[in-house]
């Protein structure tokens, strides 16, 4: 049966009902309807995932507009393959958890909060499943606009207002560039269906126009994915959006941008000779590595807990981008597994910060120092989550990262694994520093890098009410998400399943044959993998040890260090420069966006044969 369109229709219908009901819908009922719709979407997506799990592809044509003979697609399709279905499932699961959590998190919530959340979910599911390039743009906008509104949800405050403006303007500009790219592709090919554009480009001779179109299309997606230099909006939006919304932003929305990049590359451009593969690999790899390191350093310099997690998301997204850039099935499989584990873990960490702010009334690391000693359950979730993000073997994030490292060394990029160790150690070390300081009271209240930055964050707590106990509906979703993220790495042969999905994802010819001609091709054979290599365990251990070392150094070094050395002065100067670069000014963000497009175009265009 047609499950795929239902997974988009159910949340939209529920949202319409809730918004039409408006103020007449009691809070409890709105909670129940929204939760029910999100859970139903999760079940539908899981059914889809189960059906395509072994590497199948399921195509649904709206209105029964099947392609004409000779493979001319006039209709619009949803093409469900395992990675897209997995992303949709992750989005629906995180949404269900976030809605469960927000029952107690918000005391007063307007009915349109639930409506916005559900439309947001529908946009994400549609984007993950779409087989049509223009519909990808439409769903991209459908998930973006509710996201802008949700960021500015507490619009009576200054921070959320500025965060929402920057987010909305940079992402809209990105979306317009994507649309221009789509138009340029439609010109020579006359098609909007991914499979059909791909089939038409595969026959073409090398073409500069295709490169321009590719750069424009992926720029919009990279803005969403917060790759440097398009990443500025992310920290501002995360710092100011309500916690349940951050769970979705960091857990899946940002990663959907990368799904967009990978999807259009493999279904549309991988057959086009002008898109020189080595140039593409080097360009995206460079972007990914820079993003991973910038995110890690910025996370380490941050004391606002939500911004800290936001920068750690940027750091991880950089690693995902690097994994996709390898253009290798191992890399893609590793990224998919890493994204799933990261989404669940990061969602749990945001919820824990929400609980901390609920109980202690602050999200400032320095202010909270040592005040979380009594919250042992919350604290242990936070610290376990930080270690899991540092890729502690054998859990989910580790399993994903080791696949990427394998792909990198297979391609001759042996330096990637150590860079990943540094990036994860910095980002996870920052989270760990905050956790050890807040919940165990270790070290000094003020880590050295932030001495100058005593900016007063005037922010009213998002929650009100019982502060003596943590409500179960807040603790349980966080625990379940974290447990899920850890368990992903323990499922036997999970890497083989992701590998199969990745092979299917990258097979343009098989995709086109099934979408355009209805020919199902033989399923990719399941690789028997030997599990992570010994070197991966060493890298995983190194990242965890590095994270602990960074965290303890930040907490204890100021006590040891008596005088200001040249090195520390240079460090502080560099840190101040890095922070000044994130100016919060929309004009700067737009300028960097334009610079990024030029860099992308130049580095890909220079390789035209």
């Amino acid at each position: 049966m047609a499950v795929a369109p239902l997974a988009i229709v159910v949340p939209i219908l529920a949202a319409c009902l809730l918004i039409a009901g408006g103020k007449h819908v009691p809070r409890r009922l709105a909670d129940l309807v929204a939760l029910g719709a999100a859970a139903a979407t999760a079940v539908l997506c899981a059914i889809l995932l189960g059906r395509v799990w072994h590497g199948h592809l399921e195509v649904y044509w709206f209105g029964g507009w099947h392609p004409r003979p000779h493979g001319i697609a006039l209709g619009i399709d949803l093409a469900v393959e395992p990675i897209g279905a997995g992303a949709a499932t992750l989005a629906a699961v995180l949404m269900t958890a976030a809605l469960l959590y927000s029952q107690r998190y918000f005391e007063a919530v307007a009915p349109f909060f639930h409506g916005l959340m559900l439309v947001f979910l529908a946009g994400m599911v549609g984007f993950a499943l779409s087989g049509d390039l223009f519909n990808m743009f439409v769903f991209f906008e459908l998930m973006s606009v509710p996201a802008y509104a949700l960021t500015g949800y507490k619009v009576e405050e200054r921070g959320p207002l500025q965060g929402a403006l920057g987010f909305a303007i940079t992402n809209s500009l990105g979306a317009f560039l994507t649309l221009s790219g789509i138009a340029l592709l439609y010109g020579p090919t006359g098609a909007l269906n991914l499979a059909q554009i791909g089939a038409s480009l595969a026959g073409h001779h090398p073409d500069a126009l295709v490169i321009v179109a590719f750069v424009l299309v992926i720029t919009g997606f990279l803005v969403k994915a917060a790759a440097v230099p398009f990443h500025f909006w992310l920290a501002d939006a995360h710092a100011t959006a309500p916690v349940p919304v951050c769970v979705l932003f960091s857990g899946i929305m940002v990663q959907l941008g990368l799904l967009g990049v990978a999807r259009v590359y493999w279904t549309v451009f991988s057959g086009q000779p002008a898109l020189h593969a080595p140039a593409l690999v080097h360009t995206l790899l460079a972007l990914g590595v820079v993003t991973a390191l910038v995110g890690g350093v910025m996370a380490f310099l941050e004391r606002h807990l939500k911004r800290l997690l936001a920068f750690s998301t940027i750091s991880h997204t950089g690693m995902f981008l690097a994994g996709i850039a390898l253009l290798h099935a191992h890399g893609t499989a590793g990224v998919a597994l890493f994204v799933a584990a990261h989404g669940l873990t990061k969602g749990a960490l945001f919820m824990v910060i929400g609980i901390t702010s609920h109980r202690l009334g602050s999200v400032d690391e320095v202010e909270l120092h040592g005040r979380g000693r009594g919250l042992w359950a919350t604290g242990s979730l936070f610290i376990v989550g930080a270690l899991a993000l540092a890729s502690l073997p054998p859990f989910g994030a580790f399993a994903g990262k080791s696949l990427i490292e394998e792909a990198a060394s297979g391609r001759g990029f042996h330096w990637i694994a150590p860079v990943f160790v540094l990036g994860s150690a910095l980002a996870a070390g920052a989270i760990l520093r905050a956790g050890l300081g807040i919940f165990l009271g270790l070290g000094e209240a003020r880590p050295p890098a932030m001495e100058q930055e005593a900016e007063a964050e005037t922010e009213t707590p998002e929650t009100k009410g019982s502060v003596s106990r943590t409500p179960a509906v807040m603790l349980v979703p966080a625990t379940l998400l974290l447990a899920g993220g850890l368990a992903l790495g323990l499922i036997p042969h999970i890497d083989a399943a992701f590998e199969r999905a990745a092979v299917r994802f990258q097979d343009r010819a098989a995709y086109a044959a099934q979408v355009l001609h209805g020919h199902a091709t033989a399923l990719p054979s399941a690789h028997v993998t030997s599990g992570p290599a010994t070197s991966s365990y060493l890298y995983g251990a190194a990242a965890v040890i590095g994270a602990v070392a960074f965290a303890l150094a930040a907490l204890y070094l100021p006590r040891v260090r008596g005088r200001v050395t040249v090195l520390s002065r240079a460090g502080t100067g560099a840190a101040r420069l890095m922070r000044a670069w994130h100016s919060g000014h929309i004009g700067d963000y737009a300028t960097w966006l334009a610079v990024g497009v030029v860099i992308l175009g130049w580095s890909l265009g220079a390789a035209i044969p």
Binding site: F134, V138, E141, V145, Y148, A149, G152, V155, E156, E157, R158, G159, L161, Q162, G163, A164, L165, G166, A168, I169, S172, L173, A175, F176, L179, S180, I182, A183, L184, Y186, G187, L192, D236, A239, T240, L301, E302, E453, E455, R579, A580, H582, S583, G584, H585, I586, G587, D588, A590, T591, L593, A594
Partner: protein, 114 residues
């Protein structure tokens, strides 16, 4: 079909970006966003244009008559709807910016930094 519409589209986009980067007023900045989007309208319509063709409405005309591409026109319409949503939301935020910050100058919105 000449190359001019493409140059115009590119020019509008660059001008819009420049306006956003240099803007000292949120309303001006938001209108520059819609200027950038106008570039996509011009681009889409230019791509679907055919010389000596009518509008793609086949009433009272032979079905074989030469017409411009209707697909890009519907894409443009969708694009207009998207723009209306985005600009409405942005302007609503600008109204709140005046209420909270007492200014429309993006340089004075300084709640978030670093």
């Amino acid at each position: 079909m000449s190359v001019y519409p493409y140059i115009v589209a590119g020019w509008i986009m660059v001008v819009g970006f420049f306006g956003i980067a240099r803007s000292r007023n949120l309303v001006h900045l938001i209108l520059c966003v819609s200027v950038v989007q106008s570039a996509t309208y011009v681009l889409l319509l230019a791509i679907g244009f055919r010389d000596h063709a009518t509008a793609p409405i086949f009433q009272g005309v032979a079905p074989t008559a030469r017409a411009v591409d209707p697909v890009v026109q519907s894409l443009t319409l969708t694009d207009v709807v998207v723009e209306a949503t985005v600009v409405a939301l942005l302007l609503a935020l600008a109204v709140d910016a005046v209420k909270r910050f007492g200014t429309l100058d993006p340089q004075d919105l300084r709640a978030l930094k670093g």
